[in-house]
């Protein structure tokens, strides 16, 4: 399996990259870590006439930990989430999910932006960014815009990116506030595989242990990671196991679950419900301790 022919560009700046995108648009694919794109190209399922390699755009590879924000350039490698203590402190949910993204080799080369732009329904990072209420910075030669993560993922492998746009930066809120905890749980057939179902949760408690905010994202079960409306029902309540289990079930029921070779829709929905409860539980425990 070898790719079909293409023209190759390796811009050094974001502006150069945007210029190339503007010129080539639909014919072009952006190359970041290549862990999703190149297999498709080798199998000739993707046949871009132009490949714009972003790996030389240094500006996209910068991670900035600020007092109240974490700003991750799209080309930051996935393994930075595991290795960088500052990022882990700012976004412990990402640090917890990262070791489950593929394998060592995947994370050494794969990028945060690449995973998000690819938008596999069973990928960990899209769900985590939604749970953390991240803001995505999109740029094109026409200008910039920002989108909340929840609005970025439009469908199966489909995002809000226009053909001439690239995802430049992911902005996340900084270190978790006091009394806020995260939780993550997934089920995959083998270590490192895409999730059959997974959940991430961020939960905040008030001084009395009552939930004042909850975000629950279920992924792997449907075509896009799903921000569960059922989480809202936890606000104002104590996060006891029964309520969390109910929220998990309700959240899973909101999803039009998909079936494939690996799991039926019923399987995914059932497991998603349990994992959602588990993620919420872990978030609650951490929130208590925080």
């Amino acid at each position: 399996m070898r790719p079909a022919p293409f023209e190759y560009f390796a811009p050094r700046t974001v502006d150069e990259a945007l210029d190339l995108l503007a010129r080539h648009g639909e014919e072009a694919k952006l190359l970041a870590g290549g862990q999703s794109l190149v297999p498709m190209m080798n199998m000739r399922l993707a046949r871009p006439a132009v490949v714009i390699d972003l790996n030389r755009v240094a500006a996209l590879g910068v991670a900035r930990v600020e007092a109240k924000r974490l700003r991750l350039g799209a080309l930051v490698r996935q393994h930075a989430l595991e290795r960088d203590a500052h990022i882990a402190a700012a976004a412990p949910l990402l640090a917890e999910a990262a070791p489950l993204i593929g394998h060592l080799q995947t994370r050494a080369r794969g990028t945060i932006g690449g995973s998000l732009a690819h938008a596999d329904p069973a990928a960990e990072l899209p769900a985590c960014t939604i749970a953390l209420d991240a803001v995505f910075h999109l740029r094109s030669a026409r200008g910039s815009r920002q989108l909340p993560a929840a609005d970025f993922f439009r469908g199966l492998l489909a995002t809000a990116l226009e053909p001439d746009e690239l995802l430049a930066e992911i902005e996340l809120p900084g270190p978790p506030a006091p009394r806020t905890g995260h939780g993550f749980a997934e089920v995959a057939r083998r270590h490192g595989d895409f999730a059959l179902a997974g959940a991430c949760a961020v939960l905040s408690l008030d001084a009395a242990g009552v939930c004042r905010d909850a975000r629950l994202v279920i992924f792997g079960a449907g075509d896009v990671p799903h921000l569960a409306r059922a989480a809202a029902g936890l606000i104002g309540e104590r996060p006891d196991p029964r309520r969390l289990a109910e929220a998990g079930r309700a959240g899973a029921d909101e999803i039009d679950a998909r079936g494939d070779l690996h799991a039926t829709p019923e399987y995914r929905r059932r497991v998603a419900a349990g994992l959602a409860a588990r993620a919420l539980g872990r978030a609650a425990t951490r929130a208590e301790a925080a």
Binding site: M1, R2, P3, A4, P5, F6, E7, Y8, A10, G34, Q35, V38, P39, M41, N42, M43, V51, D53, N55, H79, P99, G102, H103, L104, Q105, T106, A108, R109, R190, H191, G192
Partner: protein
């Protein structure tokens, strides 16, 4: 595959196993093919060509990287380390290779170079891995022959030997 009339070619210079090498490549040439076909470094093997088996793992700027998912043109200015460079110039084997031999951690040998490169990178960063951690680290390298048990033992041996000979902190 390399310089011919037709597609635009690109010049690549890389430090491969410590030695500078050059090539003129077409954009779609895979790094694995550059290593194997152009530079005769056939120790890096292609098992799946879609990033699943890890047999083609090399070190790219020190990081374990699937050579089937990188284009040759992308390694210009980079360091590439392959299995051929592990043993150094002498006639002996690298301690990791010795450990593999002692533990019968290879059978057909096809996946072995990729596993050696993954472990070389991993053991550099993780000096005292547990068996479970090692198995996770190896989860991106498929082996059909060994069942992994001897590979894990060899890696544990190599890690222990590494700690034994490491300079005091």
């Amino acid at each position: 595959m390399t310089a011919r009339a037709g597609p635009t070619t690109h010049d690549v210079t890389a430090i491969v196993n410590g030695v500078e090498r050059r090539a003129r490549v077409i954009p779609r040439l895979l790094l694995a093919d550059l290593l194997r076909e152009e530079w005769g470094l056939t120790g890096t093997h292609l098992g799946c060509e879609h990033g699943a088996c890890g047999a083609c793992t090399v070190l790219l700027d020190g990081e374990p990287t699937r050579a089937c998912l990188v284009f040759a043109v992308q390694v210009d200015g980079c360091r590439v380390d392959t299995v051929e460079g592990l043993a150094g110039d002498g006639a002996g084997l690298h301690p990791l290779q010795e450990a593999f031999r002692a533990r019968h951690a290879l059978q057909c040998g096809f996946c072995t170079p990729g596993i050696l490169m993954t472990l070389t990178a991993y053991l550099r960063e993780h000096l005292a891995p547990s068996e479970a951690e090692l198995r996770e680290a190896l989860s991106g390298n498929l082996c059909r022959c060994t069942g992994y048990q001897h590979i894990v033992q060899a890696a544990l041996d190599a890690a222990a030997a590494g700690r034994a000979t490491a300079p005091p902190a």
